[in-house]
């Protein structure tokens, strides 16, 4: 019996890029690869919906345990990441009180240090009593985060802070409706 070992580029090939290269024949190297990551899907349903109750004039914060996100392996081998953006969608159902909700997103390569990295996005939303208020923002991400999304594993950190600005307790629920990452790469397999 002989055993054939496959090495080199094949060792770290991404499944998606493999399907591409195998079945489209790698085109002519001018293809764009659009990577869309639904980061929200990696969170438990309970994490995506945060009830809050902030006493008058006292900030109230929630910090999630780091959320692991697994991606395709070896994506960086198949192209050069050129740009990435993050779409955030929130929905505040504020029952009582008035103030501001602050939502902060972090991305890092390690769960223990993700909250010490620079925040990727911050979304501040003014909240009124008995009102449902959406919040949305699109952020262009920097090279550090771009590199993270070409790796096969990263972690995401989420912080909420509510700052009551009235005498009434600020109470309600914040739902995360969208956490989409869009990355554009130029395919380069040679």
């Amino acid at each position: 019996m002989k055993i054939t070992r496959f090495a080199g580029r094949m060792q770290c090939a991404a499944l998606g890029a493999l399907a591409l290269t195998a079945l489209v024949g790698t085109g002519c190297g001018k293809n764009r690869v659009l990577l869309n990551v639904d980061a929200l899907s990696f969170m438990d349903a309970s994490q995506a919906q945060q009830p809050y109750s902030a006493p008058s004039l006292l900030p109230f914060s929630v910090r999630l345990p780091a959320v692991p996100i697994n991606l395709v392996e070896g994506f960086a081998d198949f192209g050069t990441a050129e740009a990435a953006s993050l779409d955030i969608g929130l929905l505040y159902d504020n029952q009582t009180g008035q103030g501001q909700g602050n939502f902060t997103v972090y991305f890092g390569d390690d769960a223990s240090t993700v909250y010490s990295t620079a925040p990727v996005a911050t979304l501040d939303t003014d909240l009124q009593p008995a009102a449902v208020t959406p919040g949305a923002i699109r952020i262009d991400m920097d090279q550090r985060v771009l590199d993270l999304f070409t790796s096969k594993h990263l972690v995401m950190g989420l912080d909420w802070t509510w700052n009551p600005q009235s005498a009434q307790t600020m109470q309600g629920t914040c739902s995360v409706s969208k956490l989409d990452v869009h990355m554009v790469s130029q395919l380069s397999v040679f």
Partner: protein, 448 residues
């Protein structure tokens, strides 16, 4: 984590092998329609009485007298080679003009005749959408590249090279080359690759690819005759040849690529399980295969009318006494491709494709009409064409259905001076990696 490393490596290995199988499939497809005669090309490639191609498809035509305008010898003018020399594709992947699709199209359409137009560069976007329990790949170009129905394609080259004849008894030598392939996706995998459907948990996706090729030579002996002295060749003709086939080489592969998803696609555990299983069979150099076959045909000529029915390779097969059989698979534990030799002396019999050709033609003073229907295990092709002479000029047109049942069109012209004809023909085709329509310009000289 180790599991996912292995899984990715397995995916890579399997996909690369799938690519190899798909390439075999792609390369096999177009060879059947290849002709070096620009006259036939411009008429939609029907068999024309008096041509060598028809004598190969129907042995009854081997002794039928040629028509007044029949071609004795055709000298193709390979403009495609000049075109290629002027604009040779780069093989340097870092060159901005590097194009895999152009190289692939050149392989599919050998640059003998000139190709007009530029092929789609296959530069569509590829979208990967990742969620914890879903993985979708949307490849814009794959929608036109991959077939949903299992596709069987193949070609065979077996034209007489030289021979001798005496009183109807003839013998001749012909090279024999066959190449065939089959590729099939299950519905789930086809949806993933071409419709952008997501890979879902706890599913299995499968692709199978099979291919076989053989090269050798045949020594044919038999009888063809008819007409029995009628001055203009009218009458009934028949031919029957038996052949000894000597096989010089054989290769065969049956592969299956599968992808099984676990409970969670992008979770920490239960990675995707990629499977690859292949059985290959080869006859080593120096081991000769032996076989026999039979060709027969009948034809009838009455005035300007010709009709014939030819059967080629009836029961033709080649027996290989000792082939090497290898089994390859991806080892679940190590993630490596393991190849075991199951046997190095297993007998195998390869069967050559039986081909049936029905042709009909009418040759008038200035007009030629010709049509044929050719069928074998890879499919059925139909060719219809016409030629009209206007002095020393000849105008031609025709249409055909190709090996993928697509209708193609042809037109052309010829200029005849004394015993020499210059022919020029255009014919559309879909022999490109993207399946888009292309057009071939062929030119040739012929001696009448």
């Amino acid at each position: 984590m180790m599991d996912r490393d292995r899984t990715a490596r397995r995916a890579c290995v399997a996909a690369q092998l799938a690519l190899a199988a798909a390439s075999l499939f792609a390369f096999a497809a177009p060879a059947a329609a290849f002709t070096t005669d620009a006259r036939r090309l411009g008429m939609g490639s029907p068999f024309v009485p008096g041509g060598r191609d028809l004598a190969s498809a129907n042995v009854a035509y081997q002794t039928m007298p040629s028509r007044r305008d029949g071609r004795g010898f055709v000298i193709p003018l390979p403009l495609g080679l000049i075109q290629l020399a002027q604009d040779f594709p780069t093989f340097d992947a870092n060159d901005p003009n590097f194009s895999v699709t152009r190289i692939a199209n050149l392989a599919i359409n050998p640059p003998f005749f000139m190709e007009t137009g530029n092929a789609d560069p296959l530069d569509g976007d590829i979208s990967l959408t990742i969620a914890r329990n879903s993985f979708a790949i949307d490849i814009a170009d794959a929608r036109t590249l991959l077939p949903q129905e299992p596709l069987n394609v193949g070609s065979m080259y077996a034209r007489p090279l030289f021979g001798l004849g005496l009183l109807g008894a003839r013998t001749y030598f012909a090279p024999v080359v066959t190449l065939e392939g089959r590729i099939a996706f299950d519905n789930a995998l086809f949806g993933v690759l071409t419709q952008g459907e997501a890979l879902l948990p706890n599913r299995e996706y499968t692709m199978t690819a099979n291919g076989e090729t053989m090269a050798g030579a045949s020594f044919n002996v038999g009888y063809s005759g008819g007409g029995w002295g009628h001055p203009n060749g009218d009458g009934f003709y028949l031919g029957a040849y038996t052949k000894y086939i000597m096989g010089f080489g054989l290769g065969k592969a049956d592969t299956q690529f599968s992808l099984a998803t676990g409970d969670t696609i992008f979770g920490d555990s239960d990675p995707m399980n990629v499977g690859y299983d292949a059985t290959t069979r080869v006859s080593r150099f120096g081991k000769i295969g032996n076989g026999v076959g039979f060709d027969t045909g009948v034809a009838y000529r009455m005035g300007g009318f010709d009709i014939g029915l030819g059967l080629r390779d009836l029961g033709s097969s080649v027996h290989w006494s000792g082939t090497q059989v290898d089994h390859s698979y991806l080892d679940d534990v190590t993630g490596e491709v393991v190849t075991e030799t199951l046997s190095d002396s297993e007998p195998y019999t390869s069967k050559l494709p039986q081909q049936t050709t029905l042709n009909v033609a009418w040759t008038g003073h200035r007009t030629l009409l010709a049509a044929d229907l050719t069928t074998n295990r890879w499919g059925t092709e139909m060719h219809v064409g016409a030629e009209r002479k206007l002095g020393i000029l000849a105008m031609r047109g025709g249409m055909l259905t190709d090996d993928n049942s697509k209708v193609q069109y042809a037109w052309g012209a010829g200029l005849g001076l004394a015993h020499v004809c210059f022919d020029l023909g255009f014919q559309t085709h879909n022999h490109t990696v993207t399946g888009e329509r292309g057009m071939t310009l062929g030119t040739s000289l012929a001696i009448r």
